[in-house]
């Protein structure tokens, strides 16, 4: 190694560590700000306190928003896992033309601007006469979650040995049973990471949901932005810290079961 080599490498390590701090900064700041006793955001807080967590009880509509968001995230992820499994098996095992195109199409909502999808759905649902906000939100959230599931399932099925499924069929299992008892357990890591990221994407979505809500059906991100306009006190940092805790739990589950390295492969 020459001196220049060492300089290059040292420099990239310095920037890399700076990048780690930069990435963690908003998370650390939010958690620290949530434990303040003051009603403005000063760091470090004058005194540590749980008062903003206690104040969450009095936030009107918070609980409804949390339940609605959890409900949408769980149901849309489950539906996406079912639709995604069928489509991924078809693309991986089928012998027909245009499989590449189908794979690209099912992942393409990831590359489309969320807000535009929201606007398009708003107009479309109005045209076909779908007025129920809960159903509109659920359909919209399947569009959000399906590409996450498809991306991981397609990647992992590409390397899966399907002769295992055929073997199970020779042993007398029907095709659906073989998929359920051989394919899915073997691809459990992909189901877990795909499902977790889909769940989080649904929990976090604002740009699609905002066009599909009504006064009674407000998801958590929508409610949070509304609070921020009405009364931006540190109780928002407390809600945010709750969501950060959720992300940490997901991360721990993911790293224990599939490993961090597999998680970033999406």
């Amino acid at each position: 190694m020459t001196g220049t080599d060492r300089l290059f490498l040292t420099l990239s390590w310095v920037i890399g560590m700076g990048c780690v701090i930069f990435l963690m900064l908003p998370i650390v700041i939010t958690v620290a700000a949530s434990f303040t006793s003051s009603s403005v955001y000063t760091l470090p807080p004058p005194e540590w306190s749980l008062r903003w967590y206690q104040s969450l009880e009095r936030r009107s509509g918070l609980w409804e928003a949390v339940t609605l968001s959890l409900n949408l995230a769980v149901v849309s992820t489950l539906i996406s896992l079912v639709l995604g499994t069928l489509a991924a098996v078809a693309v991986t095992r089928g012998r027909f033309r245009g499989r590449e195109a189908i794979a690209t199409f099912t992942v393409s909502p990831l590359m489309m601007p969320g807000l535009v999808v929201g606007v398009a759905l708003l107009q479309f649902f109005r045209e076909i006469g779908l007025r129920d906000a809960h159903w509109s939100l659920l359909l919209g959230h399947i569009v959000i979650t399906l590409p996450f599931v498809m991306r991981t399932l397609l990647a992992s099925m590409a390397t899966f040995d399907f002769s295992l499924v055929d073997a199970a069929r020779t042993l007398g299992l029907s095709y659906p049973r073989a998929i359920l008892s051989v394919l899915i357990p073997n691809l459990a890591p992909a189901y877990l990471t795909g499902g977790l990221f889909a769940f989080l994407a649904s929990m976090d979505n604002y740009p699609i949901s905002i066009f599909l809500t009504d006064a009674r059906n407000k998801t958590l991100p929508i409610k949070m932005l509304q609070y921020l306009e009405e009364q931006p006190d540190p109780s928002l940092a407390a809600i945010s810290s709750g969501l950060i805790l959720l992300a940490v739990i997901v991360l721990v589950i993911g790293s224990r079961t599939v490993g961090l390295n597999r998680m970033i492969q999406g």
């Binding site: 220049t4 290059f8 490498l9 990239s12 390590w13 920037i15 890399g16 990048c19 780690v20 930069f22 990435l23 963690m24 900064l25 908003p26 998370i27 700041i29 939010t30 700000a33 955001y41 760091l43 639709l83 489509a87 078809a90 693309v91 095992r93 089928g94 189908i102 099912t106 393409s108 909502p109 590359m111 489309m112 601007p113 969320g114 807000l115 535009v116 999808v117 606007v119 398009a120 759905l121 107009q123 479309f124 569009v143 399906l146 989080l200 604002y206 740009p207 066009f211 991100p221 949070m224 932005l225 921020l228 945010s240 969501l243 992300a247 940490v248 997901v250 991360l251 961090l260 970033i264």
Partner: protein
Amino acid sequence: MRRLEHIGLLALPGLTFLAVIFALPLLLLLLKSFQIDGQVSIAEYRLFFSDSYNLTVLWRTLRVALLTTLLALVIAYPTAIAMSRARGIWLSVFLVAMVLPMSVGVVVKAFAWSIIFRTRGVLNDMLMSLGITDAPIRMLFTESALIIGAANVFLPFMVLPIYAVLRQMDGRLPEAAASLGATPVFRFFHVTLPLSLPGVVAGCAFVFSLAVSMYVIPSLIVGERQQTLSMLTARSFLYLRNEALGATISSILLIIAISVVLGSSWLANRLGARS
């Protein structure tokens, strides 16, 4: 096995769903923007582009997206190099720093940046206690704050594709170049950089298309005063009730997004064909 010929049918439920609830609405939106009273027309676009305010917004949106992508690339490239050399606990540190922020929502992170940039916020407190400034600097509502916040949120999407390419790169290639007498700078520009370009293209395309259409981050960091295309879309639908304008702007965003996807995959193919 005959069975395998019918297996393609399994894709039908998912495909039908996305065709009806995703592709069709986007297509209708696009078609409608080129139509007035059932007639093909580009009048809405002409109206949009004739208003100098709209052009300012369009230019600001593209500029912010471009600068965000550049800032993210400048931070991400060295980070990906360090990450591809990291082992053990250091690799875990990098991985956690990528995956955790990716799992925390945009709303939470944009909110955090609005606390950091506030006039009596975290950053100003720090600058004043260090004696760098006497009076708080106005940071929130500035374009620089927006670019820093956006680059922060989208950074993992830039680091990871570059890291994936660098990790797969044969480490002996730069060594071979070195043994043939290539200087480090020459090696970087003629070996490492060309081989990592597909990752750079993928990262830039993803970050740019996210940044061009971001909505939550600008509305929390710069607010209504400096509109972007997506804020203008939301406003024309949710407040102004000017749906024709909203449909036109969202079609413009859609066209930008599709061009980025097509352009980047064309570029990736060319790069793949060359190496």
